[in-house]
Symmetry: C2
Subunit: 562 residues, 2 copies
């Protein structure tokens, strides 16, 4: 049996380790700037790929990321598996019932969100193919069909994430956007599958185009009806008779792999089968949250970063960067989507702001666009210049989506108390035994950071304290004051093993004391911070574990990761 050589295995593990580590690192950095992780992951790949690392150290680059031979094939197999599993997770996130609940409006917006960008994209690629970066010798009709589809696909995961970040996910508008995006996703991928069939990439066994398209539609129908029904019956049986959670995990993955093999066989890509398997699985009320989380976490944090970093390895993003093409693709993509969805919203009776928000929300392309582009590149449908333009368009539309939604809906993200807390305002062992002493100890730390006079801060807090004690029970106290001369809030935290009486309704002494100083002009922030603290420390478990915390880092670790 042909196996990888010692050197190929060494290179494979080192390449995977480096890709994963840098993708996660840049993903975290992107997140720190409130951007989607995929931006950082692709950037990591661009740095490791031909654009930067390959240009600086070509010999090392060839060793790590070989272009031919066993190493290249093994990496390609792994990346194909990674993206297929990512689509399984994307499918799991689809909630079919959302579409039904939102009914006609969602379908209107979903249809308009496909038809208008499809028409705009098709028109541009058909009438000015050079501007859209067609390659010499490409079939103009297939190219136009591809561009039309590429511009009409939305990125459900990015959209869902943006809405959650803005606390809009469960609102009427949020559910409408999600429902329209789900519909959009389903239809968009089916159309793309059909285009892949038209491409005739299928091999020797060669189904005809008609057969491929027919089988694609039949398969989609089957997965969304009979398979969905069957899965819903099988899952409780697995829970009852197979080991937990191995039975259902194995079933879910095996189903996705076999479905992937089937769609690859009929001449469309493997990811389509995995996506539909995910939709069918995710729809069952018997799929436990725990199973979903295990699959999603492993795939989102291991396979997806590997795949997206792998994107950067494929192409030189500097050499293939074409500003005119990037701008053209970006403008046409945004125009089609925002107009299509926005107008559909207006015509369906939404307010102006909501209609625009709908358009901006649906405009996020994210990962899906990139996957589509990669397949088109692989099958020779587009060139590297256009691929780079599509990747950039996908990233830019994803980045714009959140801020534009926020702007048009005049939203603010709720602020978290950890945003205003630092090691300098954290006191692991409060020395104080009484309320005034404790306030003074925390006030001094907070005043130093805020550049205020400590005595002023103590006065302000104690005046408030005399009006109403700030012990809120369960061992928590939140002394606070609005301070003149403060630009942004300052939070100080102190732990007291003995506990300090803050006159709480339940009579318990406070072992965890938050001092909140907020600007006079900012009305909402005090309540936001109080609500955040109350939410974080709601559970009995976290309150008991906070007593064992030994440092600021461990305190943050507890608050952020439970």
């Amino acid at each position: 049996m042909q196996t990888l050589t010692h050197q190929e295995i060494t290179a494979m593990f080192l390449a995977l380790g480096l890709l994963l580590a840098s993708a996660r690192l840049f993903g975290e950095l992107a997140r720190r700037f409130n951007q989607p992780a995929v931006l950082g992951e692709i950037l990591a790949g661009i740095l490791l790929g031909p654009t930067v690392f390959g240009a600086l150290a070509p010999a090392w680059s060839t060793f790590l990321f070989p272009q031919v031979g066993g190493g290249a094939l093994a990496l390609d197999g792994l990346m194909t598996l990674a993206i297929t599993l990512f689509l399984l997770v994307a499918g799991l996130e689809v909630d079919l019932s959302t579409i039904w609940r939102q009914g006609k409006l969602a379908i209107n917006v979903g249809v308009a969100g496909i038809v208008v960008p499809f028409a705009v994209g098709f028109g541009a690629a058909w009438f000015v193919p050079q501007l859209m970066g067609i390659e010499a010798g490409a079939d103009p009709l297939l190219f136009a069909l591809f561009m039309a589809t590429a511009l009409s696909i939305s990125a459900l995961p990015v959209i869902a994430k943006t809405l959650m970040d803005l606390n809009l996910y469960r609102s009427d508008l949020g559910m409408l956007v999600v429902a329209a995006a789900v519909f959009n996703d389903l239809v968009g991928w089916i159309v793309f599958a059909v285009i892949l069939g038209l491409l005739g990439t299928a091999p020797a066994h060669a189904l005809s185009i008609g057969q491929t398209i027919g089988l694609t539609l039949l398969f989609a129908l089957f997965m969304l009806t009979a398979a969905r029904w069957l899965i819903n019956r099988v899952l409780p049986w697995l829970h009852a008779h197979a080991s937990w959670p191995g039975g259902v995990l194995g079933f879910a993955l095996a189903l996705a792999l076999v479905a992937a093999a089937f769609t690859e066989w009929i001449g469309i890509h493997a990811i389509f089968g995995a996506f539909l398997a995910g939709v069918a699985l995710g729809d069952s009320r018997h799929l436990r949250e725990r199973t979903r989380a295990t699959i999603e976490q492993f795939v989102s944090f291991i396979f997806a970063p590997l795949f997206f970093a792998g994107i950067g390895l494929k192409v030189n993003f500097v050499a293939q960067f074409d500003l005119l093409l990037v701008v053209a693709v970006l403008v046409i993509a945004t125009l089609g989507k925002v107009l299509g969805c926005g107008l559909a919203g207006l015509l369906s009776g939404l307010g102006k702001r909501e209609a625009w928000a709908l358009g901006f929300g649906m405009n996020a392309r994210g990962a899906m666009e990139i996957i589509l582009g990669l397949l088109a590149l692989k099958y020779g449908l587009i060139g590297e210049r256009l691929f780079v333009a599509l990747v950039i368009m996908a990233l830019v539309t994803s980045l714009m989506s959140g801020p534009l939604l926020q702007h048009v809906l005049r939203l603010k993200k709720p602020r978290r108390f950890t945003d205003f807390l630092s090691a300098r305002t954290y006191v692991n062992h409060i020395q104080a035994r009484s309320r005034p002493e404790a306030v003074a100890e925390l006030a001094k730390a907070a005043a130093a950071v805020a550049g205020l006079d400590a005595a002023d801060v103590i006065d302000g807090v104690m005046i408030r304290e005399e009006i109403m004690a700030t012990g809120i029970g369960h061992g928590l106290a939140v002394p606070h004051a609005r301070m003149r001369g403060l630009d942004r809030p300052v939070v100080a935290v102190g732990l007291s093993a003995a506990g300090i009486d803050f006159d709480a309704p339940d009579g318990r002494p406070a072992q965890l004391i938050f001092l909140l100083l907020t600007p006079v002009h900012d009305d909402g922030v005090q309540l936001e911070l109080l609500a955040d603290i109350a939410t974080v420390f709601k559970g009995e478990e976290i309150r008991s574990r906070v007593g064992q915390v030994a440092s600021f880092t461990e305190f943050l670790a507890l608050v952020r990761s439970g």
Copy 2:
């Protein structure tokens, strides 16, 4: 860039899907017969491999599991990744502090558990190499060293699992076995790494044997000291500053991959690096149970089954089966291990039964032996005949371990109430309103299954009920009776939405009623079943969810998978 063809991708996904599905299926079946899952997983591979499927349908077999070309290389890369991740998990399970707590006795047993089988194995392979299946032209010293190591390695995962099944894991004897096995594992793998270095499988860059061995020992030392210390510092920082659980998941996997690349580079196998990375990670008190579970579940239920089923693909287990060799390997392996550990136990002052139990416990080889054999096969150190014998030896010693321990310690597995419950004794909606009616309803179902007279059963239960009411609070009741003419217990379960008064101490009516009929001669079983019921329904959540159960399957699903 060289990529897999359409046909290779189709075959890869179908092969992975089939391997995973059948490995999980047979793994579950093995589990049903109280055998380790790995037995079923390897069996699935033997069925799909050249032994059965390949002989029946050679063309299909070549398509699915190609021996050469891109498909073979991609599958080899994946399997190498799978086994490396499995060793990461095996490392996570090692608890270094257990060794320290058990102190000198554990080290004695651990040393004897290596030295004796090592000597026995070396002697056999050196003096009667033909009997031990040496290949023509093999270096007799390397062969003897390999056999010595192969026979001295224990399988920590199998041992831990066996002890847990027998409720011995937290006992003194259990902890001693685990500590000795951990020590055994660590030393055994380091010795094997050194042998691999001696093999000189390293490529062009060619470290000398001395360098390889030196680097191996340095690396092991580094991972168990400095790296361990560093990881313990990094984890809280990741929890505090990176996304949860993506930060720590990415870190753990990237660390394992880079460590794997390093050990592959120095000329020993990648799995060794991943194993030590796992030990170093698993030792940190900051590694959360949740993170551990996500990695372990995904690896144990997806990657490990794929890998172990893959074993069966490598060799024709019928054609290469050599009874004499199998028996010789089995006898010598068992002799060395049982004598070594047993004598060390006796000399350290353990009782006779405990000493034998120690030997039988440590004798389980499980997955580790097979991995070792596979590497030896790959590097040409052994032939297929011996590989088959090693696999069978590993499986047989693993299978023997539990029953022998049980026998020598005169243990019984605690019985579970679900073992004696069936759809025919499950009543989803009890019609009854009163205690006698409810008892009668359940007694009729139980009597039919047990072949008893329903009136006798009702009498027996009601007499017991009059002596002492069986409502145990929290909405549970456990009416019960010992019945003449019963061979094995029968359990009936009934749900009552309205609740039936069983005179519970907390006054709450019973909504979940268990009727237990047990044989007269079996004193312990009634208590075991009562304890099991009380344990399963201890939590508030499961008691509230049981009310929503709609069928016997859903009831079992809730009890078994929470």
